[in-house]
Symmetry: C2
Subunit: 293 residues, 2 copies
């Protein structure tokens, strides 16, 4: 069994990005600039936005955060989106989700210019990805594809089973894995809460991608000997063994599944570190007008 | 074995649409108006556009066709698209494909306002469909879903195998079949040219949707006893038995497959008749501002 070391791969990509930014600055070009809109005081959201700003700094990007109280009017938020859409110094921006209940999340997402939508949530980017046009692909599916690519995974003709059909992971990764480019060309099956005989289906997978959001859901009997397992889940559970009093686990029962696999992503340190790096990659693409020339 | 009679279902839907149009006219409202842009003299394209105009007439829609020589400049075509985007009397329009080589097809498709894109080819409509928002879904996948719905097919939890991953059939129907609404909730596998052990996979399907574009590709050994088979293919082959000298066949070897199935679409008279009806349904939705209020 080999670990797919997301932490290491993410660090490598960061170095590559930092090098590219350095070249830009050497040529007296402006570095990429990522902005974030943060509404309210949700601690998890604040942590995410801070991590994104920190990652920007590490690779030499400019970053800015637009903070608002949770009682901000939808109208005002939409005006900020419009302002960022039109600011030529900002290459891409994200609106940290979730938003307060009185704000229509889809309306805000759809107000973002697809050209600056580095989170890849705008229907136009989702549609472009679906039909195989250049697109901003959202962080987690983009990160998974990058992990596979950089692990030299041969995916063509393989049976790939996806557990979960969410708009942010399962659905897009199922499309990416079955498209005609590499990694891709896999025979993809999407499983979900209505799937029958789930264990038989997952046990047929050469590549099993688990994004079901249930701690240690996938057990050894559900996995084929020699399979590749990508675990997207991350859950914090109490632990008597750690100083912090908790530990992180995935959607896969790692201890019993890992020995059966040929390659597996650990939790933490697998898919997780790739998400912010994906956002940086998209922002760099935005700076270079790669997706929308 | 029961036939899924696309011709009959299409006729029923046309009647329903005609009734709704009659009510509009009785209330002195304007009937739906579908326009088509036709470039060049491809006989198949001319036939399609004429059929669409004829179908409009049958249900009481207005229709208009904008015809251009095959040497039209892209610029001029884009101006026509813009004109139709802004004409308040036109609810939806299509650009008949294929376009001549000197014209960038994607550029033209993306110039169509998503609100009037009743063919459902604009990335924004594809994206909206992918994430489960109201969307114009393109004719063939929309027609297949409507066939299933009107045949009272229970699809939840069923194994659905799709042969083909094209942007106009395989990909969208795979998304629609695995989404959370009915028909849907199936466990969907997408197969294609790189798929290995294809016959074993298709033989596991409760619902087999074939859109691979190869005459009589699916044989009896590839189909499970009691399966539902939807045949999207349509091919004209020489025949000594018909007056015309040819006959139409599908992607499925009907004579040997049909007896094994519980339900199957014939060719012709299965999926085919549903496509134009889907376009009418989308145009009616456009008239009522159902997708984009």
């Amino acid at each position: 069994m080999n670990l797919i070391d997301g932490k290491k791969i993410a660090a490598e990509i960061k170095q590559e990005i930092a090098l590219e930014v350095k070249k830009m600055i050497d040529k007296e070009e402006r570095p990429p600039h990522l902005a974030a809109i943060l509404v309210g005081n949700d601690p998890a959201s604040e942590t995410y936005v801070n991590s994104k700003a920190k990652a920007c700094k590490e690779v030499g990007f400019d970053s800015s955060t637009y903070k608002f109280e949770s009682n901000i009017e939808e109208e005002e938020l939409l005006k900020t989106v419009e302002f960022l859409n039109n600011d030529p110094d900002i290459d891409g921006f994200i609106v940290q989700l979730p938003l307060p209940d009185h704000i229509d999340e889809q309306k805000v997402i759809q107000a973002i210019s697809p050209r600056k939508d580095v989170d890849g949530f705008h229907p136009e980017n989702v549609g472009r990805m679906t039909i195989g046009l250049p697109a901003y692909v959202s962080a987690t599916p983009n990160g998974i594809m990058e992990l596979l690519k950089r692990s030299d995974m041969k995916t063509a003709g393989k049976n790939c089973v996806i557990l979960g059909r969410s708009n942010i992971v399962g659905r897009p990764v199922s499309i990416l894995m079955s498209r005609t480019t590499e990694p891709g060309n896999a025979t993809v099956t999407v499983c979900h809460s209505k799937t029958q005989n789930l264990a038989a289906i997952t046990a047929s997978a050469d590549i099993l991608i688990v994004a079901i959001g249930r701690p240690e859901f996938v057990t050894a009997d559900m996995v084929k000997e020699g399979a590749v397992v990508i675990d997207v889940g991350i859950h914090r559970v109490p632990s008597a063994k750690t100083k912090s009093g908790f530990r992180l686990i995935g959607d896969v029962k790692y201890d019993e599944v890992a020995p059966k696999t040929s390659q597996i992503t650990p939790v933490p340190g697998g898919v997780g570190p790739m998400t912010i790096v994906s956002l940086l990659m998209n922002t760099l693409r935005a700076r270079k007008n790669e997706i929308y020339p």
